[in-house]
Symmetry: C2
Subunit: 296 residues, 2 copies
Amino acid sequence: MREAAARLGYVYDRSAALMRSGKSHTIGLLVCEITNPFYAELTAGVEEALDDAGYVTMMANTSESVTRQRRMLERFREQPVDGVLIMPATGTPPGLANELLSWGVPHATVVRGFRRGAHAGPDNRAGTRLATEHLLTLGHRRIAFLGGAAKNPVSAGRWEGYARTMAKAVLVPEHLPCQTDIGQAAQMVQELPLRGPTALVCFNDSVAFGALLGLQRSGRMAGRDVAVIGFDDVREAAFWYPPLTTVRVAPRVIGQAAARVLLHRITNPEAEPLREILPATLVIRDSCGANLRKAV
Amino acid sequence: MREAAARLGYVYDRSAALMRSGKSHTIGLLVCEITNPFYAELTAGVEEALDDAGYVTMMANTSESVTRQRRMLERFREQPVDGVLIMPATGTPPGLANELLSWGVPHATVVRGFRRGAHAGPDNRAGTRLATEHLLTLGHRRIAFLGGAAKNPVSAGRWEGYARTMAKAVLVPEHLPCQTDIGQAAQMVQELPLRGPTALVCFNDSVAFGALLGLQRSGRMAGRDVAVIGFDDVREAAFWYPPLTTVRVAPRVIGQAAARVLLHRITNPEAEPLREILPATLVIRDSCGANLRKAV
DNA sequence: CTGAAAGCGCTTACAG
DNA sequence: CTGAAAGCGCTTACAG
């Protein structure tokens, strides 16, 4: 029937259907920085899962701009969409969670979360704990944490995983603050004193790449002179020189979980919001020196 | 007025407005592979420009699946959107252009184009011409072209720029086919005979990264033993070891041009479709050996 | 179970 | 120039 109608040039009008039924089968997705491969991969996971559930994804890239995020959110509200998946831009006021609640728009946070409400993200604390424990096993004592701002829950979680593991080993945690940027991290590491830390737990892979670069520039080599561990396992991690040991959190899996959590919110508005914390695993390559040690 | 209404809880309903006016102020964007940093950056450029023009971007990632592309396109038609921006998935039948035309949906292609119709993309031919000329200037004679499938216009254009420049220098062009993938390219280059090409013009940066890796694995070094030039200038290009000499085509600028071309199509449906071919420039870093030469 | 009518919230064309 | 009414194409609730 619809087949035949289509042949005659008929096209189903979703906007009319939406107006009458109030269901758009569209989800708004707010990405904090699409040019970051980690978030790009995550976005692909979200879209895949929503597509399977019969939803279409309306994506907007906020480029870490709170203003742009606000505008897109209002736009989603007017559209309207059936739900919003949000990776909050840096500097998002915590009050946003309550505002979204008062709007009555089902929503879930991804990776960067609010204290409460539907959420899907990696186990940040377990990730840096695994990394730190691995370095301790390799015999390191002067282990520093490179990067991270500590103001947001992601940084806080990763710092905690590291700092608590250090404390448990009766060692003093050390924070080397720097921007989440290859160039900045490289600068920081390049200027590190010779008798400084022998191992670095990095906030994420970008920072770790910078560390690799900074070591190289100062004539040192990751894995041999200083152990480096990243966080995320972006695709490039395996291809860097040396290949990066890092904490894998599978962005695509997080994306799928986020879609699930939001859809649960939509279908069960009265139920307690789901919070899915996804496991982190350590991927051992060369930058931590473990393979080098084995070879000797 | 609207301010006051908003305070009372009123939310403008775009779906109603759309139904009456037929204008959605929404553009559908079909991305062939969002996890490729080049396309991610391009997407950000499109969105930025459309946002400035008062349009919202509805993005869908096809992951190079023609089936998914078809479904999203039909969805966009039903939605409806005011126009579609498409980076065709590999294997898209050329007939799609006519079909879109018959649907009456304004559209433009990005990067990968059809023979006719609105389009924005890099000057592929000029890009590889610049790369090849640079290698010739550095004294190379055995220059090969690595990667690219030649079935699509992008590959064809890049191959032509290389092959014609070689022919002009009375040299025989050589094609080393491989998948557009770091691992595949690395394998290919690793197995290259010692008396093989002394320089490689690569289909894109991913392939070039693979070449760098393959050389490293076989104990050779890009820039010193074999010159390597990429295409795209993705963000990582400057940070690889050695830093990659590559053809810059500024994905963000292409994205902005694509938005412009589509909006022109929407506002001037009777006018000839615009085709914007954006300039390519050569960014000289270390992988081509030019800096090494200077230092000696 | 089937079919005609009402109505979603806007914009637009028309009457006053 | 202002204001009330019609209508966009669906879905839904209701009458037959």
